[in-house]
Symmetry: C2
Subunit: 92 residues, 2 copies
């Protein structure tokens, strides 16, 4: 999947990401998008998928959900730490 | 799946839930467990699955991941609110 079909969920309000998904599906004409998140943002990513499906686009299905672990550099320096990640693939 | 094979993830430290999963697999002899969580605990549930697979039981696979929305009664009263939920099925 092209990176332009990915929505990276972080600390902004959940509706920002729902709107980003809606725009991809409706204006960019893509049939499949990928919602990605790490760490605490994983819960928000699930909220995005659920709000999009239930409130805005009932024809969108969860095609696949992948989980994994990423190694990231600690902000304060001194080695790497593990953070969980998720990717939710939605298709219509 | 029997409810006794489910681990419900909440606000306790992540290793408590990892230990609960380990106990189910190793002492109760089950081949499949379900890790469930709602809301902010969803991120912790993914951490539990990843730590268990990577650090303790490399033969455990993610069989399925389901997401959904539950209606819960607001603690302060006055109606229902929606909360996202996740279920991660692990098997060995």
């Amino acid at each position: 999947m092209s990176e332009s079909n990915a929505v990276l969920v972080g600390r902004k309000p959940v509706m920002n990401y729902v709107l980003a998904c809606l725009t991809l599906f409706q204006e960019s004409g893509v049939d499949e998008i990928s919602i990605k998140a790490r760490g605490r943002a994983i819960s928000t990513a699930i909220d995005v998928a659920e709000i999009l499906r239930r409130r805005f686009m009932s024809d969108v299905k969860v095609k696949d959900i992948k989980i994994g672990t990423d190694q990231i550099e600690r902000a304060e320096g001194g080695g790497m730490s593990n953070v969980s990640s998720i990717e939710v693939i939605l298709s219509k």
